[in-house]
């Protein structure tokens, strides 16, 4: 039985001036997986994230999420449909408290704009997530006071409040100490067990090989290889891309 595809990009292309950052890139993320997107620096991984989530306008190609073609990707609408992401450099709201960082992501419509006392349920859920991430004691602190690793955790935690279907993680362990890497890995695994699909851009190959399946390899803006980690590791084209010719 073939597993359902949660996210699919087809022929995604993006030019920056004369440089083609992403060149007819196509791949699919099956539902219920922790997929990896790897490749040498400058191979276009983050650009693919930006095109998929609407932070950049694509020049050509299609994005299909959860069975529907996304006409013009918009971060706000995609988030509400269950696609969310983190950034390479943790992007958090430095002047807001941790709880506020989380509550911000609760989807709300017009009438809720003027509600004071951001709902008790929201707060409770935010505290639950913070507790899971070991940040509960800091709930009332401003996010700018956190260490870099904690900021990465907070950013990760804050995209979970909307109960997403797919989370794109852009280098979750970059610049983070080994203990924190283990914690992040643990969080990814436990959230995955609860049904969240992940697509991870990551340079820590040990982590990728033990955590992710399938692994998608990009080079020069397009897909080079795809498959289970062991297979990808042996692929001559992949070795060539990483080690140079």
């Amino acid at each position: 039985m073939k597993t359902a595809t949660l996210l699919e990009v087809r022929g995604l292309t993006k030019h920056f001036g004369g440089i083609t950052a992403v060149d007819r890139c196509s791949f699919a993320v099956p539902a219920g997986t922790i997929s990896a997107l790897i490749g040498p620096n400058g191979s276009g991984k983050t650009t693919v994230f930006n095109l998929t989530t609407g932070y950049l306008r694509r020049d050509a190609g299609d994005v299909v999420f959860d069975g529907r073609t996304v006409g013009r990707p918009d971060p706000m609408r995609l988030y509400r449909r269950g696609l969310t992401r983190t950034f390479q450099q943790a992007r958090i709201f430095r002047n807001l408290t941790l709880v506020e960082n989380l509550c911000l992501g609760v989807p709300r419509g017009w009438p809720a704009f003027l509600r004071r006392d951001i709902g008790g349920n929201e707060r409770a859920r935010a505290m639950e997530i913070l507790a899971e991430f070991g940040l509960a004691e800091l709930a009332g602190a401003t996010a700018g006071e956190l260490s870099y690793g904690q900021q990465k955790l907070l950013e990760f935690a804050s995209v979970l409040i909307s109960r997403p279907k797919l989370v794109l993680l852009d280098e979750p362990t970059a610049g983070v100490n080994p203990v924190m890497v283990e914690r992040l890995e643990g969080h990814i695994r436990s959230l995955h067990a609860r049904g969240i699909t992940f697509l991870v851009v990551e340079h820590d190959m040990n982590l990728v090989m033990r955590l992710c399946d399938p692994v998608i390899v990009m080079d020069h803006g397009t897909k080079l290889a795809e498959g289970p980690p062991a297979e990808v590791q042996r692929d001559p084209a992949v070795l060539d891309a990483y080690l140079g010719d």
Partner: protein, 341 residues
């Protein structure tokens, strides 16, 4: 997260209670005249801070809406009288506010597609466009000849104007306080930090910004309306005056950007200081130098504005007292939105 605190309520009641009593205790014309302008600029600063301070969108065009409110008031009463007691012009102000707020929505929607410096410049053009229109739409505005308002016969001329502008100022403060604690405020403060990221968390940023812009300029327009009635005679260069624009921004920076009471404090210091300096040293133009000196002092001593600087100071002192250490002074971490100031 931010609830009504007894201290906050007490602070508001004391401030507005005293301000309400003020014109009955000090019925002198010159005092009430100055008090009118203090409250006017306080109201303008609080309204401007709602957008510029909370969301970080620095508008240089708010005074366009001040002028539109002033002209709306003046034009309206070319056609209908001010009533036998002269209170009708006060009563129509909410309508002017609503009208201007609604009209501002498409303007905001376009202007809000830009950010930071570009937004400042785009809104600055609003100022000049409005002034030019006021000069050239002769049939409506009477051009450079200006428009006069009928003059009411109040027993103490300044008092009703003072009370009216106090009412709008109180309303603006109430709005600013409410937004600080509601979901909209959370969105605005997050927009100030990182707007793209906010959008990625499903927040309807455009709606939040446009709504805030409209509310902010609606309150400014109402104040413009009272001003026109008070002055009695308006010209394009005074109704849409870059100096008024500066006058509503400076108190915000002096008192503390994005705080609740900062703009109020700023206006209560700046307006009397300016008047006093102009009165003392006006003839020799020295007052401008004195004014500049005051600013220099503030920039050097309290770069983040009075209220945030004092909070840092207090926090640092508390921390030192708490830990017994004297070496590390507080780092200038920004205050959480939730704090009550």
């Amino acid at each position: 997260m931010r609830r009504l605190s007894p201290a906050g309520v007490a602070r508001a009641l004391i401030v507005f209670g005293l301000l309400l009593l003020f014109p009955f205790v000090f019925p002198q014309h010159w005092i009430l005249n100055m008090a009118f302008f203090v409250l006017m600029y306080a109201g303008l600063a609080v309204s401007w801070n709602l957008l510029g301070g909370y969301s970080g969108y620095v508008s240089l065009g708010h005074v366009a809406f001040f002028g539109i409110g002033a002209y709306a008031e003046a034009i309206l009463f070319q056609h209908i009288g001010i009533g036998s007691d002269g209170y009708v012009p006060f009563l129509v102000l909410p309508l002017i506010g609503i009208g201007v707020g609604v009209a501002a929505v498409p303007i905001a929607w376009v202007a809000m597609r830009t950010r930071a410096m570009t937004f400042a410049i785009v809104t600055l053009t609003l100022l000049f466009v409005t002034q030019t229109l006021a000069f050239n739409l002769h049939g409506i505005t009477n051009g450079s000849q200006g428009l006069s308002m009928p003059s009411p016969t109040f027993s103490l001329y300044e008092r009703p104007f003072y009370l009216c502008v106090l009412g709008i100022f109180a309303f603006a403060t109430l709005v600013a306080w409410h937004v600080r604690g509601d979901a909209l405020g959370l969105m605005l403060f997050a927009i100030r930090d990182d707007e793209d990221k906010v959008r990625g968390l499903g927040v309807p940023t455009t709606e939040a910004k446009v709504l805030t812009f409209a509310v902010s300029v609606a309150m400014v327009a109402m104040i413009g309306g009272v001003w026109a009635y008070y002055i009695g005679f308006i010209y394009p260069q005074y109704a849409v005056d870059p100096l008024v624009m500066i006058g509503m921004i400076l108190p915000v920076f002096l008192g503390g950007v994005g705080t609740l009471w900062g703009p109020v404090l700023g206006a209560f210091i700046l307006v009397p200081a300016q008047q006093w300096l102009a009165y003392e040293y006006g003839a020799s133009e020295l007052y401008l130098i004195a004014y500049a000196t005051v600013f220099l002092g503030i920039i050097l001593l309290l770069p983040r504005g009075i209220i945030p600087s004092l909070q840092d100071l207090a926090r640092g002192r508390r921390r030192r007292a708490g830990t017994g250490r004297t070496g590390s002074s507080s780092t200038p971490t920004a205050e959480p939105v939730g704090s009550s100031s």
